[in-house]
Each structure stands twice: as C-alpha cells, then as structure tokens.
C-alpha cells in the first residue's frame, strides 16, 4: 500500500524534475541570500540557501510533501482514526490536485513549513501535552511554523483545539483551557509587538498602491469568503485550479455563499463534537486555519491554493473519517 502510494505520487509529480523557477521564485532566491535581521521566515530562507537550484528546491518540496503526508497520517491515527482511515487521509493529501501548488511552486515551501510545524505541534498536543516532551513538541512545531512564515501563528489556534479534542482522553491532565489562555496571551503579545491590531490587520498597506482606507473589513471578509468557496470547488473540480485566480471577478452571491459555508461547517462541528469528535475537529481545523486569512488584509494577495493547503488539513481528516464510517456501514450491510 505504502509503495503504491509513493509510486503514484512520484508519477503524479513527475513534471517537477524538469521544472524551472517561476513567478516569485527568482526574487525568493535573491531575498534568501541577503543578510536578515529579523527571525521571520528564517527557516524558509535557510532551506533556500541549502537548495538554491530549481532541481534541488523541487526535490526539497516533494520530500516535504511526503513528510507532511506521513505526519498527517500519524496524527489522524492518534486522533482516533483506524489505520484504514489514516491511510485515506495520507492518500488524500498525497494525491489531491489542490495541494499541487505547495509542491511544484518552490516559493510555496513557506506554506509547507507552516503545515509541517502545525502537524508537529498538533501531534504533541494530541498526546500527554503537559509533559516536557509534549511541551517541547508544541514549542518546536510553533518555531518551525513561524520560521516558515508569519502566518504560522495559526499553530496557536490549532494546538488548543487539539488539546480540547483529547480533553477526556487522559486522566490527571490539566484543563484544556490552560493552553487556550497561554495561546491567547501569546497572540495578544504578538499583536502588541507588531504594532497593534490595526497594524496587523493592515499588514499589506503600501503608499501609492494600497491605502488602509481602500478596503473595509466587510469587503475583505467577502472577497476571502469567495476565495474559500473557489478553492473548495477547485478541490472537487481541478479544472478550476490556476496559479492566479481572479477573485475580484467572483460574483457577490458566491462571496456570501463562501461565508455561509464557513458558518455551516462551524455548525457541523458544533452539532457533532460529542457524537463524531474527529469530524468536529476536522471542521474546526478548516475554519480556524482560515481565521488569519480572513482577518489580516493583504489586498494584493487573496487566498491562493498554497495558503488553502493549511485548512485542507481539515478536509483530508474529514475525508478519512467519512470513508472510515462508510466502510463500517458497508461491512455491516454485507
């Protein structure tokens, strides 16, 4: 099974061996080799220094894709899926065309590192998280994610969620709200360090191009809602996948529909958190991973497929869980 998955993945991505630098890759090569005073994206820059050619960069991305799929499978199993369900999660991640951008676009490695960090932290949080090894794992995951990209702070939302999911699993575990409070304090401190909430929300403002007054939070929420729906649709219909989707052209009703979908997914989590806790967690991972993208306004860069890969972790978990339930019903019916 494992060998078949690896061979199928290598076939699906066979074009990466001859891929060149594209889009913002060349700019990234230059940026990565300049001296940096900030620790933001430090891990991403380091990987670009280690793998400075198109071939080596794509090998690193493909290897990371495999590592992420393996960790996601282990996480699915730790969260309570059967080995069959965990394999479905792995296959969904390995072969889904919606995550192609994170593998074949070298610059999207920063998103892969965020996903890698999130999985390390969630794996640690899914066990005895209060013990030194668990805390070390959470901290390591957070550092990997933020070292990948600033949006790696999403780990601070995913860890309390994972701890909450396993709240009744361990006897003598501290309450789940302790990591939630610590995460809240860290998020608050991070916002303060960045210059306040307004500075974070208007992170992409640039004189002469994007004014902070050019966009309201309602506009931003709606356009990102439309983007969420677009990528969900592209997950099922890969003909829609593109390196630069026209989100400004998405009709208003589709934008509302995208936001409504997020509300529905949150509602599903609320309705199922007792009966199907893994499904509830998968839904919450999807919604929570989108929160930074819905709040921080980066008008020149709407939600793209590489960024959508982070919430897609929730989709993969939901597909694994759903298929596992389907198999159980099929076997009972037979």
């Amino acid at each position: 099974m494992g060998m078949a998955a690896v061979l199928l993945t290598l076939w699906a991505y066979s074009s990466v061996w001859s891929a060149e630098w594209v889009y913002e890759d060349r700019a990234m090569v230059t940026t990565a080799h300049q001296p940096h005073t900030s620790w933001q994206r430090v891990l991403t820059y380091w990987t670009w220094q280690v793998a400075p050619t198109p071939q080596s960069a794509h090998v690193v991305n493909l290897a990371l894709h495999g590592v992420v799929a393996s960790l996601l499978g282990v996480l699915a199993w730790r969260l309570g899926l059967t080995p069959f369900g965990a394999w479905i999660v792995v296959l969904t991640w390995l072969l889904s065309p919606v995550v192609v951008e994170t593998v074949v676009y070298a610059k999207a490695r920063s998103e892969q590192l965020v996903i890698l960090g999130a999985l390390i932290a969630m794996l640690a949080a899914s066990g005895r998280w209060w013990r030194p090894v668990g805390l070390l794992g959470i901290c390591a995951g957070l550092l990997v994610a933020i070292g990948g990209e600033p949006s790696g702070v999403v780990v601070l939302l995913l860890v309390p969620l994972t701890v909450w999911h396993g709240r009744d699993r361990w006897h003598g575990a501290p309450s789940w709200w302790i990591p939630a409070i610590v995460a809240g304090v860290l998020v608050g401190a991070g916002i303060g360090w960045y210059g306040g909430l307004r500075a974070v929300i208007n992170a992409d403002a640039e004189a002469g191009i994007v004014s902070v007054l050019a966009l309201t939070w309602q506009d931003w929420l709606l356009v990102q809602g439309g983007a969420v729906w677009y990528w969900l649709l592209a997950t099922a219909w890969p003909a829609l996948l593109t390196p630069d989707a026209d989100m400004d052209g998405v009709p208003m009703w589709v934008r509302w529909w995208g936001l409504f979908t997020l509300v529905v997914i949150s509602g599903v989590a609320w309705r199922t958190y007792r009966t199907h806790p893994v499904l509830a967690l998968a839904c919450l991972v999807f919604v929570v991973a989108l929160v930074p993208r819905l709040l921080v306004q980066t008008p020149r860069s709407y939600l793209n497929a590489a960024q959508f890969a982070i919430p897609f972790l929730g989709v993969a978990l939901a597909v694994g869980y759903g298929t596992q339930q389907w198999k159980a019903q099929w076997t009972q019916g037979a």
Binding site: L8, T9, W11, A12, Y13, S14, S15, V16, S18, A19, E20, W21, V22, Y23, F84, I88, L91, T92, L95, S96, P97, V100, E101, V103, V104, Y105, G208, I209, V210, S211, A214, L215, P238, L240, L241, T242, P243, D244, A245, D246, D248, G249, P299, R300, T323, W326, K327, W330, T331, A334
Partner: protein, 119 residues
Amino acid sequence: MRRFLRRLCGDLPPGLVGILALAYLAQASATHQYAPVWRTEFTVWARAAQLAPEKPRTLNNYGVVLAAAGRLEEARAMFERAHIAGQSPQLPPWDHVEGELRARENLVAVNDLIARVTR
C-alpha cells in the same frame, strides 16, 4: 482470482477497494495533468490568463512572458487587454495600479521594440 482479490484487499470489501482505487487514480491523474502548469514561466501565465481573462495583473504578466519569448505582437495584444481590463471601474484601486500603470509602461516598451524591429 477470488483468492488473489482477497489477498489484495485484506478485510476490505472488494467493491469499496474498487471505488477508492478509481477515486485516487482520478486524483493522481488530475495532479499529473495540473503539475506541469508550474513547469515554466510561460505555462504558468498561459494557464492563469486562460482562467482569468479579465485580470490585469495576470494578462500583464503573460504579456511580459510573451515579450521575453520574442512573440511581440501577441505580447502587445496582451498588454492592451491588461490596460483595458485595468480601467474597469469595478476593479479595486490596487488592480488599477497593476493594470493601468504597469500594462501601459509595458505597452509603450513593446511598441518601441516592434517599431525598432520593423525598421
């Protein structure tokens, strides 16, 4: 044959295995088709322009790639399209910058180049 199928599927119903195999082969095939879009600058922007025919940035970037490949007439047509798309009142202000300013600059440059080549 039945014994072979049982060995292959383990405790899974063969019908379920068949459906899942088809689903994941379809996924792998879609990935195999889409991944080459990211192989070169040209394939990236050709695909992007095909799916976003009204987006100034995409059209402008495709024009740049065409100009770099020496396809100047096609590049000019693309910059013109980007420039027109950039003037749409429905576009947000930052897309006007991409469309109107960059596309106009590139249009002037490619027209110069075409004039020099034809002279």
